[in-house]
Amino acid sequence: MDPRVRSLLMARLNADVSRRRFIQGAAGMAAVTVLGTGAVSAAGRKPAGRTPRGAQAGDEIGGPLNFLGYEGEEAPNVSKAFLEQNGIVMQPKYIGAADDALTQFQTGGRGQMDLMASNKDFQRGVLDAGIEFMAPLDMARIPNAAGLWPAFKVAPWVVRDGVQYTVPLIWGDEPCIYDPAKWPDGPPARYTDFADPKWAGSLVWLDDPYTNIWLYGRSLGYADPSRITQAQLDAVVEAMLASKPNIVAYGASLGDMVDIMVRGDASMGIGGWAGQLAIAREKGKEFAVASPAVDGTFYWSDAYAMALDAPNPANVYAFIDFMMGAEPNAQIAAELGSGCTTAPAWDLLDPDVQELFPYDTVRAEDGGVLYSQQVLPPQQPDGDIVNTGAWTDAWQVFKLS
């Protein structure tokens, strides 16, 4: 494996487990209040390669492009030639959790950040809350985005009130990863079937309340597992407790999950990612991915956005348009073990890579499961529907039981 690709995959695998599902941003207002806005702004301001005013008022391509997002999604390998040809200097900063970007933005980062990359649930939550964070996009400056799959043109984390705020880059699902030598038939039909004693000493779960509660909620038949009552949440915890005797460990990250399985301490992981297969292969282990036949799994997607008051908008538009091109979009999807977001890119993928993900989902005119599916519960209680706090407490109760 190319060392650069491995480095990118390792960073992704060892990132915070919830980075795909965080919608919460914290403002860090204590520092502002105690020390004074001016002092904190001065302390937080970093030399981010601002384009000199007057010389390039944001309308000319070239100069710095300040990226804040998941490592790898600034596509250093894919975009190298493009950046050189256009005199753009990528200046990346990486986040572990999606809300890191909002925190940085609100504590001196506004006016310093250009391009951002984050997950759909976080972006949707920001749009729902009406927070000033992502800039409306002029899609006329991203002509390649016309190739986006239908699901990515109408999704609620992409478009709001007729205005587009994000441009999806990659997507994927959250399957089980397993050792086919031990489990040739793969995972059972339902997540609740993991309570069978035959799975004793085999299971490793991602240490993430949202993944596991959602999946078990799906297994219990809840139409929308992200919106459940306290009684339903209690039922989910009971169902998870039935499987708990068979759990060996909780993976702190996707990479940690693979490590536990490669060491032979577990052989079936819940809440995995296709990219884990490559890392396992490099360590001499051949694993496989699959989802329970009846319950299925959920899907995620990461998208580009432009920060409000971005100092280099021309570079942002040029870069996003480039990444929406057929070849770059196909390359980044293959590099990160994910699905591509444009139809022309799909045509360039190898047949076996095309089969990795259910593209019929994203071809759907009604937006498919990515449009309708949400993993995270509401931030605040909504009538009987419990919020994220209730889920994290339930998860801790489950782990302590």
């Binding site: 959790a97 809300d99 994220t388």
Partner: protein, 285 residues
């Protein structure tokens, strides 16, 4: 007679004091202010509420985890400190000529990263790890011992392994100041074995032992990586894991996290003071 610090002492202390004030004192003050605020949606709202402290102390889950954390930290420290004490004694009075080499061998593990050492323990304790492989090869066991990894035992063993070098340093330093003449004089006067340690050595190295206990106890109580990586499904959650969630999750509640942090800080100080007072009392009897 009052002993005054030498002239200019405060000036000499000023850089270090300033450093701690800026990088420790002020952030702590910010956290303290934050602990009285409220979380509303995505933001923290200035307020003067005790609700976070009340919520933290009356939540059964948090109290359970807090008590478990104190217990684990206490047990870890009570294991680490005696081992470190014995090692320091042996290096000072039995293997004096090799003391630096032995100390170096113990401290060499600190040269590697914290996470690297935790993964090393996984390699040692794992189902297909070094220990199980050796025992299987020697024919001492027929099946790997799965309880060695991803269990409370694994957490305890790893914490002891990680903290022992740190605890050894202050005790070793105190022990190096104990003259061999004191030990020989005590033996001549009939003090041997345990009594020698309790009545002569321990009072002399008490500052080092107290520091070692503080290091082991506080670091064990605050650790959230070892329980995450090695605690397994059987319950590796410590208070640090809970507090981390409040600052880095979709249910972020910085004020509650800050309040819990200060509750933990207060409890750790109380436990530390009680334990060191107890040590002092034992050494005076």
């Amino acid at each position: 007679m009052t002993v005054r610090p030498p002239a200019g002492a405060w000036r000499q202390l000023a850089p270090a004091t300033a450093f701690y004030l800026v990088f420790f004192g002020i952030p702590l003050l910010i956290l303290l202010v934050l602990s009285f605020w409220r979380q509303e949606g995505f933001t923290q709202v200035p307020d003067a509420t005790l609700g976070n402290y009340a919520g933290g102390l009356t939540n059964k889950l948090y109290v359970t985890v807090l008590l478990r954390t104190i217990l684990v930290a206490l047990v870890t420290a009570l294991i680490v400190v005696p081992i470190a004490y014995v090692m320091a004694y042996l290096m000072r009075f039995r293997f004096e000529r090799r003391a630096n080499l032995l100390l170096g061998l113990v401290l060499i593990s600190l040269f590697s990263g914290y996470l690297v050492r935790i993964y090393a323990w996984r390699t040692i304790l794992g189902t297909e790890g070094l220990l199980n492989t050796a025992l299987l090869q020697l024919g001492l066991i027929a099946e790997p011992i799965t309880a060695l990894i991803f269990s409370p035992w694994a957490v305890m063993i790893t914490l002891v392994g990680l903290l022992l070098p740190l605890a050894l340093l202050p005790i070793s330093s105190s022990m190096s100041n104990v003259s061999r003449d004191h030990v020989e004089a005590a033996r001549d006067l009939g003090s041997n074995g345990l009594r020698l340690h309790r009545t002569v050595l321990l009072p002399m190295v008490l500052p080092g032992v107290g520091t070692a206990f503080a290091i082991a106890f506080v670091l064990a109580a605050g650790d959230f990586v070892v329980p995450t990586m090695l605690g397994g499904a059987s319950g590796g959650t410590m208070i640090g894991n809970l507090i981390t969630n409040f600052f880095r999750s979709s249910s972020a509640d910085w004020p509650l996290g800050a309040a819990l942090s200060f509750v933990v800080l207060a409890l750790l100080v109380i436990v530390y003071l009680v334990t060191t007072r107890l040590l002092r009392w034992v050494s005076r009897r």
